[in-house]
Subunit: 233 residues, 4 copies
Amino acid sequence: MNNDTRREFLRTSAAMGVSLAAGASATAAEPQPSTSHQAYGYQHTPAPLPFDAKNLKGLSEKLIQSHWENNYGGAVRALNTLRGRLSAAAVDANMPPFVYTGMKREQLLRTGSVVLHELYFAGLGGNGQAGNAMRSRIAASFGSYDAWEVEFRKIAMGLAGGSGWVMLGYNEALGVLENHWMADHATAPAHTRPWLVLDMYEHAFHMDYGAAAARYIDAWFANLNWETVAARR
Amino acid sequence: MNNDTRREFLRTSAAMGVSLAAGASATAAEPQPSTSHQAYGYQHTPAPLPFDAKNLKGLSEKLIQSHWENNYGGAVRALNTLRGRLSAAAVDANMPPFVYTGMKREQLLRTGSVVLHELYFAGLGGNGQAGNAMRSRIAASFGSYDAWEVEFRKIAMGLAGGSGWVMLGYNEALGVLENHWMADHATAPAHTRPWLVLDMYEHAFHMDYGAAAARYIDAWFANLNWETVAARR
Amino acid sequence: MNNDTRREFLRTSAAMGVSLAAGASATAAEPQPSTSHQAYGYQHTPAPLPFDAKNLKGLSEKLIQSHWENNYGGAVRALNTLRGRLSAAAVDANMPPFVYTGMKREQLLRTGSVVLHELYFAGLGGNGQAGNAMRSRIAASFGSYDAWEVEFRKIAMGLAGGSGWVMLGYNEALGVLENHWMADHATAPAHTRPWLVLDMYEHAFHMDYGAAAARYIDAWFANLNWETVAARR
Amino acid sequence: MNNDTRREFLRTSAAMGVSLAAGASATAAEPQPSTSHQAYGYQHTPAPLPFDAKNLKGLSEKLIQSHWENNYGGAVRALNTLRGRLSAAAVDANMPPFVYTGMKREQLLRTGSVVLHELYFAGLGGNGQAGNAMRSRIAASFGSYDAWEVEFRKIAMGLAGGSGWVMLGYNEALGVLENHWMADHATAPAHTRPWLVLDMYEHAFHMDYGAAAARYIDAWFANLNWETVAARR
């Protein structure tokens, strides 16, 4: 078909939900990057904790285990289920766009939860001491390492009693290392490489600290594994 | 001071707003990556349109010029102002965290607007034809290039009449190329490299198309510069 | 069944999606308030414009007609479709809660759009002059009528270039008349009676004013029908 | 000044932050409804728990006390502080609209938290048994009382592991009693009278139940005071 006909066809398909996924088999033989998964077919396998949950200081094994199994694990299971649902929705001829986007929103939320939780756990298990190179790099952007920590803590305390994340991340588009406030798993700075993320959802601390968010933040800092952070530079 | 004293000091500083930015001068001599800007001090310069606004097909010069000058330009100006305000807030001893986060939310929103608009404009000015390598890469994840386009359009139509973005992006954490629904400039998939973004805020099309979002999406596809997209792989 | 058994049954039903809607027929004979509709079965009929779209000052017939037909009308159609979908989802034994809430989110968004657009159109068609009683009532809460208008306009300008609503509303829980910032149709102050709402989505003005939001706000004020506002007290 | 001059003046004031609050003194003598508070000056007094926290079934005194004191109480304190800040911002000649709206967003969030928490606590302390009139009213909208409870629980489970509220509310604009999903304190259906709200923020249950949200929902249902709900009809 010509370009106009094809465009009309695809536009109508989007509106009506006609799927073209049948074309998948035709392309199955095409080279696929070995590091990549398929958008609809991908099923994520939970990453194990990179430390022994018994060994953190001031964060109980019970808390960490529940966080990993129920909150992170729940997000993985939901995301896998959603991919299956989205795959089916793509061949549902009656799926309106505004119903489809409801599922895409939930997919985005769970995607953020999976990605951020993996970064969170990977950042724990250390002694809390940032190396000199990392401290210098942070100071170069924030004026001093301590100025960075003050802003990072302030954002965290502004989320306390609610939920969200704090991220130290390198914005690759603007070329700036900065702290970000994130209201939920689906909030994030576009085109930014995360270095360090702090989970401020209450499931990250209420079992151990109740509403005492500042004490949780202390404990989180004390367990930071700055080597994994440095590796993300 | 020892670690406990320091922690207490930083925690209190975060709560009270005492700034440590004075330390900035001490670190000014430290090496700073040449590609990076300072978190508070950075002032962004608007990127010029990478094409002649007169030459797009089906998107008027008036629309593109207003989009660039008022919406993208307005976001740049707001972001620059916010950095100055945040810098001052860091030395305001009475700044509560929940007021500070109000500004961080606005900063995140404008940061997203600046980054996404630059990607949007950089993706225009072409002939709309994706090369074979790009088509294969997309097909490898979505089953077929057309299946990708159907889902991308469906997400866009689910946002029509409201606002937001659609992104084709490579999730570097999960290793998957996928389409994302984004409710506003502050919504995004974490740790994802954008390949292609479509602005579904009504300022992107109402002047030319009124509420006829599907016709705008057609025009957007027809002007895509797939070479810049390919360069983001 | 006893209370524990019943609880277990309902909890499982919620998790699995077993519907109890079959019970509907049994209760069909029960008295139903004449002013109320059924949660799932309700289909909303669009309210006609309460003024002649040709007669507004500074807001073109084309803009108003498109706003009513495409944006308000589109929300009505989407909401009606969503109710049907939700009704079906209630009898889908395999519907996970996190997919169901995706639809509830879209329902809330369209519900807000329908309700707020009806308030918006009902507030237009007047001469823009607030009566003395209304001015006094506003002044009693804001210090002066002009102080109210300054804050209302400031919130609107903070949303310009993006989307959202500004509401003057009476918070029935706290007993205070105040202005509210609303990021989208699903953002609102709980338990608040709206008096006056301003649509800051770009579909409300871009056709006539492009990005010149302040001029749109002027036009909106000039067309306010304060008598309908007064009737909402 | 004439209308055009005045409009220009107010528009400029909104943009520049010039305050007209000085006019407040001129109107101080005007009659103010005895049931109403002033928009900027109002300072909210926390409402005491309407039951003895020792007496709930399956919700510990420690949990309820922390919820009331830290989460609800914290929201009251933040809201009161924000009103003071907003009042000052109204006389700050250099306050840009997009900084002001950051504070309005935080105000809306805390307003929702205060209002919803008061409804939540007022709904507890009962025996969990809805009276026949209430059951009939719910059945009239949902088909049956049990169908209502299934949907209400399903929405709650869709929020489990994250945060938000579930509301049974009467939409006064559309004339329909329905359940609403609410992502956070600032999400709500416009023009809706709340009958019953369930707090799904993790501070409402993690201390007692960890991630076992379904058991918390059971406990919440068992303690409902349906008489206060009936009084909201």
